[in-house]
C-alpha cells in the first residue's frame, strides 16, 4: 500500500552541526563576527591590564577632547585627555563580568525553579509562581537603587540583585514550556516505560526547552549589560572601575564640548548586545531545525507531484439539474521552488435535492475541493485550473467580488469541529444574528429568525442558548448551532465537511437525522465530505471517491456499496469492520503458539 511506504525527505537524515546551521544565516554570521570582536577586546583588556595597567588613566593634557584620528588616538581623547579606544577596550572586561554575574544568578535561580514548578506543579509551584510575580511587580531599577543605598555600589551586589530580578523571566519561560511538555503523551509513555523523573527531564524536557532558553539568555545578557551601563550612567556604579556606563556618563557631561564622546561606549554596548542576540537567534533556529518545530503537526504532504494543468474535457454548461459541477479542478500550494499539487483535476456533480458523499482518506484532497467550492481556500492556495459551475455559471470565470457574492448567497458551510468553529468571545445569539445583520435584516427580525432556526435544529430552550457563550454549551449543541447558522443565509447548497466526526455516535445519529429532515424540508442539495462509509451510507444518494487528488469513482450510493467498480473503492469497503464479525471465543488455558517470538530475556 502506498500509504505504508516509508516516506522521508532526504535532508533530514544527514544532520549538519549546529554551528554550521548558525553560520548559514547571514545575520547570525554578522553576529558571530561581532562576538569575535567582543572576545578580542576582552583578551586585549586582559593584556593591557597585564602589560600597562595604567594605560587607561594616562592623560595627554595637551590633547583634551581630541577628534578621532588625532595623534595616534584612533577614537580621540576624552575631556581628561585620555585615549578613548584604550578605555573602551579596558571597560569591556568589567561590563562583560557584570553581565556574567547577573546571568549566572538568573539561570541558577530560574532554571531549577522553572523545571520543578513546571514538572511537579503543586504547592512548590504556587509558592515559586507567587514569588516571581512579586519580583515582577517591582521595577528592577527601583530595587537596585534601594539595594545600592543600603549596601553600597559594589558591582557584585548590584549585579546579583539584577540576576534575582531577571530570574522570574527565566522561571516563567521554563515553567510554561515544561508544563506543555509534561502534558505531552510521549512523556506519559516514558513514565509508563519506567524512566525516572531525572531521565525524563534530561531526555525529553530539556531538549524542548533549550532553544527558547538560549534565546532568553541572550536577551537577558543584553538586558544585564544595558542595565549595568545605565546604573553607571546614573552615577551609581562602582567608580573605581572603568565601564562603558561610566564613559557614557562622562561623554554626556561633556556633550557641549565633545559631541561624539558618548557615541563610542554607546556603540560598543549596542554592538555587543546585537552580537548576543543575533547569534542566539541563529542558535535557536538551528536547535529547532534539529528538534523539529511543532510536535503535533502532521507530516508534510507525502507525495509531491507536479502535473500540467489538464485541459478541461467538456466546457459545456452543466445540465439543468446539476446545481454544482466541478470540472478538472487543480489546487496547488507554493513550496520552495515550485507548486505542490494537492488536487489534480477533480470532477464532481451535485444534483438538485440530492446528497453527494465525497469519500476519501486523509490527504486525498476532499476538503481542499470542498473549500475551493466554498471560496474559502487559504491565501497561499493556487487554483491553477478547472471550472466550478454553480447554477449554470462558472464561478472561476467571474471577478473575485462577484464570485464571493454568488457563493455566499447560495452555499452554506457546516464545519467538522463544532467547538473551534464558534468565536469564543461572542454569544451564540450574536454569532447567529451577525450574518443576517450584515445582509440588512433588522435587529429584532434577526433575533426572531435565529430563535426560530435554533428551535428547528432541535434546541429546546433557544433563548438560553442565544445568551450563552460557546464554552457553556455541549459539542452536540454547538453543531446544531452551526447548522442553524448555515441555514440562516437561505442557501440551496449545503457543504458539510465531516460534520459528525467530532461527535459521539449517538449524537452523530441525531445530527444525521436532522440534516436529512432539513434537506427534505428546504429542498437543499448537500455535499457531504466524510471518511466514514457508515455516515455516507446513512445519508447519501450519490457517492464520489477521492484518492490522491482525483475522483476515482462516482456512482449512486446503491451501486457504490453493492458493486464498487474501482479497486480502491473495493479496498475501502473491505476495510470496514464487518457488522457481525466478533473475535473467536476466549480460551483460558491456551498456550502461546510455537512460532512466537523468543521470550528469553537479554541483559
Amino acid at each position: 500500500m502506498s500509504a505504508e511506504v516509508v516516506t522521508a525527505t532526504p535532508d533530514l537524515t544527514t544532520r549538519p552541526s549546529t554551528l554550521r546551521i548558525i553560520l548559514r544565516n547571514p545575520l547570525s554570521r554578522t553576529g558571530v563576527v561581532l562576538l569575535g570582536l567582543v572576545l578580542i577586546a576582552l583578551v586585549a583588556a586582559v593584556v593591557i591590564d597585564w602589560v600597562a595597567p595604567d594605560a587607561a588613566w594616562k592623560a595627554d593634557l595637551y590633547q583634551l577632547n581630541a577628534a578621532p584620528g588625532t595623534d595616534g588616538h584612533l577614537l580621540g581623547t576624552d575631556s581628561g585627555g585620555r585615549d578613548v579606544l584604550v578605555r573602551l577596550v579596558v571597560a569591556t572586561r568589567a561590563t562583560m563580568f557584570a553581565g556574567v554575574i547577573a546571568l549566572v544568578v538568573a539561570v541558577l535561580l530560574g532554571v531549577p525553579g522553572g523545571l520543578i514548578s513546571g514538572y511537579y506543579g503543586g504547592k512548590v509551584d504556587l509558592v515559586l509562581d507567587w514569588l516571581s510575580s512579586l519580583a515582577m511587580s517591582l521595577p528592577s531599577i527601583v530595587v537596585l537603587l534601594a539595594i545600592i543605598s543600603s549596601l553600597g555600589t559594589s558591582m557584585w551586589i548590584s549585579m546579583t540583585t539584577l540576576g534575582c530580578m531577571m530570574a522570574p523571566a527565566v522561571f516563567r519561560l521554563l515553567r510554561a514550556q515544561v508544563h506543555a511538555v509534561r502534558n505531552e503523551l510521549y512523556v506519559d509513555a516514558a513514565r509508563v516505560a519506567g524512566l525516572s523523573d531525572a531521565r525524563i527531564i534530561s531526555r525529553h524536557v530539556l531538549r524542548v526547552v533549550r532553544g527558547p532558553l538560549v534565546l532568553m539568555i541572550s536577551v537577558l545578557s543584553g538586558v544585564a549589560i544595558t542595565v549595568q551601563t545605565g546604573l553607571d550612567f546614573l552615577g551609581l556604579g562602582d567608580s573605581t572601575t572603568i565601564t562603558w556606563g561610566g564613559m557614557l556618563s562622562e561623554g554626556f557631561a561633556a556633550m557641549t564640548l565633545n559631541r561624539v564622546l558618548f557615541i563610542w561606549p554607546g556603540l560598543a554596548m549596542a554592538l555587543t548586545v546585537a552580537a548576543f542576540f543575533l547569534v542566539a537567534s541563529g542558535a535557536r533556529d538551528a536547535l529547532q531545525g534539529i528538534d523539529g518545530g511543532s510536535t503535533t503537526a502532521p507530516p508534510a504532504p507525502e507525495r509531491i507531484r507536479l502535473t500540467k494543468v489538464p485541459t478541461s474535457q467538456s466546457s459545456a454548461t452543466p445540465a439543468e439539474d446539476e446545481v454544482l459541477a466541478v470540472r478538472g479542478l487543480v489546487i496547488g500550494y507554493p513550496s520552495g521552488d515550485g507548486l505542490v499539487e494537492v488536487v489534480h483535476g477533480a470532477d464532481l456533480t451535485l444534483r438538485k435535492g440530492r446528497t453527494l458523499g465525497l469519500v476519501g482518506e486523509s490527504g486525498s484532497g476532499k476538503s481542499q475541493t470542498a473549500f475551493a467550492v466554498l471560496h474559502l481556500l487559504p491565501r497561499q492556495a493556487r487554483l491553477s485550473g478547472g471550472e466550478i459551475w454553480l447554477d449554470g455559471t462558472d464561478l472561476l470565470a467571474l471577478p473575485r467580488r462577484e464570485r464571493e457574492r454568488r457563493v455566499r448567497s447560495a452555499i452554506a458551510y457546516v464545519p467538522q469541529e463544532p467547538m473551534s468553529n464558534l468565536d469564543p468571545t461572542f454569544t451564540i445569539g450574536y454569532q447567529l444574528t451577525e450574518p443576517l445583520r450584515a445582509r440588512g435584516v433588522g435587529r429584532k427580525a434577526a433575533r426572531e429568525r435565529a430563535t426560530a432556526l435554533l428551535t428547528r435544529t432541535g434546541i429546546r430552550d433557544p433563548e438560553r442558548v442565544m445568551a450563552s457563550y460557546p464554552h457553556q454549551i455541549s459539542g452536540g449543541m454547538a453543531q446544531r448551532v452551526l447548522i442553524a447558522g448555515a441555514l440562516s443565509t437561505d442557501p440551496h447548497v449545503l457543504i458539510a465537511d465531516e460534520p459528525t466526526t467530532a461527535l459521539d455516535v449517538t449524537v452523530q445519529a441525531e445530527i444525521l437525522d436532522l440534516l436529512r429532515g432539513l434537506q427534505a424540508e428546504f429542498g437543499m442539495s448537500i455535499l457531504l465530505v466524510s471518511h466514514d462509509l457508515g455516515v455516507i451510507a446513512d445519508l447519501c444518494d450519490d457517492v464520489a471517491v477521492m484518492r490522491e487528488g482525483q475522483v476515482v469513482e462516482a456512482a449512486t450510493a446503491e451501486n457504490f456499496f453493492a458493486h464498487p467498480r474501482h479497486e480502491y473503492s473495493r479496498m475501502l469497503l473491505a476495510a470496514v469492520p464487518a457488522e457481525h464479525e466478533v473475535r473467536a471465543e476466549y480460551v483460558a488455558d491456551r498456550s502461546v503458539r510455537q512460532d512466537a517470538a523468543p521470550r528469553e530475556k537479554h541483559s
Partner: protein, 313 residues
C-alpha cells in the same frame, strides 16, 4: 464571577503588602547610620544618637516596620531625612513628570503597536520588516542611549525641541507635550516593536482559526472579521505585553529623565540613593510596586471583560 473578582482583588492586596515588606527589608539591609549622615562628621556621638532616637531608629525592626506600615495605610510615607519634609509631599512634587512620561509612552505604544500589527497582518510585507527592524533596534538601543542620540540630533544639533525642562500640563498643554516629545519617543520606541510582534503573532493565529473561516462562509467581510472578531480574540497576548512593558517603562523613565534633566521620580530616587534617604526610597518602592500591581489588576479585569472564558478560570 463576583467571587473571582474578589479573589483577584485579595491577591492584589496581598501582593501590595508583600511589596511594602520587600521595600522595608531591602532598604534596611545595610548598617547605615542616618543620624551621622544627616548631622555630618563634625557632630558628636551623643548628638548622632539623639538624632537617631528622634528618627525612631533605636527601636526594634518590627516596631519600626509596624510604625511605618501603619503610616502607609493612612497615606503617610514618613519624613525624608533630607530637609525633614514629608515623603508624600516630595513624591507628589516629582511624580507628575514620571507619570506624564510613562502614561504618554503607554498610549504611544498601545496605539502604534496595534496599528503596526493590523497593517502587518493585512499583508503589507514592508510593515513586517519595519517591525522586525524596530524590534532589534529596541533591544539593542536602550531608552537612555536613544535619548542621548535624540538629544544630540534634535535638541543640540538642530534645536527643534527644548533641550531641558518640563512644563506642567496645567500651565500649557502644548508646552507640556513639546517638552515630553523627545523623552517619550526615546522611551516608547523600543517597546512598540515588542508589543506589535505579540499582537501580530496572536492575530495571525486567530486569523487561521476555524471560526474565522466559518464567519467568512457566512459572508462576514474581512474588515468585520479582523476588527470585531480577530482583534478581540488576540487581545490577551497584546495586553500582557503591555502590562510587562509598563514595568520596563518605569525603569527606563528613570534614566531618560536624567538625559533630559526632567525632575521626576528617577531624579528623586537617585538623589535619595546617593544620600541614603531611606524613607524616600521606601516610598518610591511602595508607590511604583503598587502602580504595577494596580495596572496588572486592570489588565486582568480588561481580559475578563473581553474574553468571557477568562471569567470562569
Amino acid at each position: 464571577m463576583v467571587r473571582l473578582l474578589f479573589r483577584r482583588a485579595v491577591a492584589a492586596l496581598v501582593l501590595m503588602i508583600a511589596v511594602a515588606v520587600a521595600g522595608f527589608v531591602i532598604t534596611g539591609l545595610g548598617n547605615s547610620d542616618p543620624g551621622r549622615s544627616i548631622l555630618g562628621p563634625q557632630a558628636t556621638a551623643a548628638q548622632v544618637e539623639a538624632e537617631n532616637h528622634r528618627l525612631g531608629l533605636d527601636r526594634s525592626q518590627v516596631e519600626q516596620f509596624t510604625d511605618w506600615a501603619g503610616g502607609v495605610v493612612r497615606g503617610d510615607l514618613g519624613r525624608s531625612y533630607l530637609g525633614d519634609r514629608p515623603v508624600t509631599e516630595k513624591i507628589t512634587n516629582y511624580l507628575p513628570v514620571t507619570m506624564s512620561l510613562v502614561a504618554l509612552s503607554m498610549v504611544v505604544i498601545a496605539v502604534l503597536s496595534l496599528v503596526l500589527a493590523v497593517a502587518s497582518v493585512s499583508g503589507r510585507a514592508w510593515v513586517d520588516r519595519c517591525v522586525q527592524l524596530l524590534a532589534v533596534i529596541g533591544h539593542v538601543l536602550p531608552g537612555y542611549l536613544l535619548a542621548l542620540l535624540l538629544l544630540l540630533l534634535f535638541a543640540v544639533q538642530f534645536q527643534l525641541f527644548p533641550v531641558f525642562g518640563y512644563t506642567p500640563i496645567g500651565e500649557s498643554p502644548a508646552q507640556w507635550l513639546r517638552g515630553l516629545a523627545l523623552p517619550v519617543i526615546a522611551l516608547a520606541l523600543g517597546s512598540v516593536a515588542g508589543a506589535a510582534l505579540q499582537a501580530r503573532g496572536a492575530l495571525m493565529d486567530v486569523l487561521e482559526a476555524d471560526y474565522v473561516r466559518t464567519l467568512r462562509s457566512r459572508g462576514i467581510g474581512g474588515r468585520s472579521v479582523l476588527f470585531r472578531h480577530a482583534l478581540r480574540n488576540a487581545s490577551p497576548a497584546w495586553l500582557t505585553s503591555l502590562s510587562l512593558g509598563f514595568v520596563a517603562l518605569l525603569a527606563g523613565a528613570f534614566m531618560v529623565e536624567k538625559v533630559f534633566a526632567l525632575p521626576g521620580l528617577g531624579t528623586l530616587s537617585v538623589e535619595a540613593t546617593s544620600s541614603g534617604d531611606r524613607p524616600v526610597l521606601m516610598g518610591v518602592v511602595v508607590l511604583t510596586g503598587g502602580l504595577v500591581v494596580v495596572v496588572n489588576l486592570l489588565v486582568d479585569l480588561l481580559q475578563m471583560w473581553l474574553i468571557p472564558k477568562a471569567r470562569t478560570a
